[in-house]
Amino acid sequence: MLKNVRIALAVLALGLLIWAGYLGLVWAPADREMGDVQRIMYVHVPAMEMALLAMTLNFLCCVTYLFRPSWSMDSLAEAFAEVGLFFGGFGLVLGSIWGKPTWGTYWTWDPRLTSMAIGLVSYAGYLTLRRLVDDAERRAVWSAVVGIIIAVDVPIIYYSVRWWRSLHQMQSSPATVDPAMVRALRWNFLAFFALFVVFVMARYAIALARRRQEVTPPPLVLERAS
């Protein structure tokens, strides 16, 4: 049953993506100042939103795991971390592609981009830790602890970078959007969210299967004592 739910959702997500792509590329009007380059916003912004969503959900799973440990919570935390890293990673690349024509540089110390970049390196560390610890229980507890510390740290990074950067120039506010653009953005958001759910479900299944395989209790029957 679960399998065809996931396939149906995947097909829906694909359809949404194509429809949102059409809206972003063709239907939405070009921006007055930035012209067509502004269309990159329709993929960059939803990607960053998904990354933030994934990080928040990972934090919630980590906290829940510490109070009520269960393999599903542990696997869910792992799924959110990886999917968040994925969305954040290519979201940042989109941000720098957008930055080149608009600001002339691939990277500006914009607090949002900077704190996301640091967050991604932290979650890369989180995933590396998960691979470097063999014992399933210890890995689950320690990655929960690390997940909590990182999640607390990302907002701190955002504010300290903003404070650190505000010494130079003001943070760039997103371009003014008219209703048609908002509609395109919302459809793209929906498409990205559908893909987010599909990816998390798939990655969760992978993680849970690994945990099950690691933690299967031994068969009751005793071998012949040697």
Binding site: L66, I118, G119, V121, S122, A124, G125, Y126, T128, L129, L132, V133, D134, E137, R138, V141, W142, A144, V145, V146, I148, I149, I150, V152, D153, I156, I157, S160, V161, W163, W164
Partner: protein, 231 residues
């Protein structure tokens, strides 16, 4: 055979801090190595950043805290090596010593070592970058202590975790450095304000930021460390 009254949390932490400091004193060869290591990193930064003294003067705060950060990775990694030798950490857990007291003790001992490293680095830095503490030594010391505290708290949690994992020498910095970016930003900023003067009176706010980090990391460490040590 119930044992007589066991010491409270803070008293246990005090016993363990004395033990850690005694251990550091006994193996001071390691502490010396750490100090000379950070001196050489300081020199390295100065040479790498070029002979132009005006730039070095501006970058003095940053180089100091980068050197301390690199030294902290070594100090933190070492701090749990001694606990793993002969399973001493299990011995403490079985004593029983409250894991939170263990955290306080370890974090304070690491802070002391880092402050020592910082104290040795400072005069050398003042000479190298030809800077002087215009806002006074007291503030400089305040930044140093608060910065080292903010490094040691999460560092102790992460070094306890990575001391059990494989390839721990890579894992500790990988986990720690992204986390310490706000701390290093605040500490380096506050330090360079001390060196170059503080026209817009921002020193207080940066110090406040640093103090805020300490509150966050110490409470997080205090709450989460037992989960790291207990299986």
């Amino acid at each position: 055979m119930t044992p007589p009254v066991a010491p409270g949390l803070l008293w246990t932490a005090w016993i363990l801090v004395r033990k850690d400091l005694l251990l550091e004193w006994r193996s001071r060869a390691r502490a010396n190595a750490l100090v000379f290591f950070s001196l050489s990193t300081l020199l390295l930064f100065s040479f790498a950043l070029g002979p132009d003294t005006t730039f070095l003067k501006r970058a003095a705060g940053g180089t100091l805290w980068l050197a301390i950060l690199l030294a902290s990775v070594l100090a933190l990694g070492e701090s749990f090596r001694v606990e793993q030798e002969n399973g001493a950490l299990d011995g403490l857990r079985l004593a029983p010593a409250d894991a939170r007291a263990l955290f306080l003790a370890k974090a304070l001992a690491n802070t002391a070592l880092l402050v020592l490293v910082g104290a040795v680095l400072l005069p050398v830095l003042l000479a190298l970058a030809s800077v002087s503490p215009t806002l006074g030594l007291g503030r400089l010391a305040g930044v140093l202590v608060l910065g080292c505290l903010a490094i040691s708290a999460p560092g102790t949690v992460y070094s306890a975790i990575s001391s059990h994992a494989r390839s721990r020498d890579v894992l500790l910095p990988l986990l720690l450095f992204p986390l310490l970016i706000p701390t290093v930003v605040a500490a380096a900023k506050a330090t360079s304000l001390v060196f170059e003067g503080d026209p817009m009176l921002q020193f207080g706010s940066w110090l406040g930021l640093l103090a805020g980090f300490n509150v966050v990391y110490w409470s997080l460490g205090f709450a989460l460390f037992p989960r790291v040590v207990e299986d």
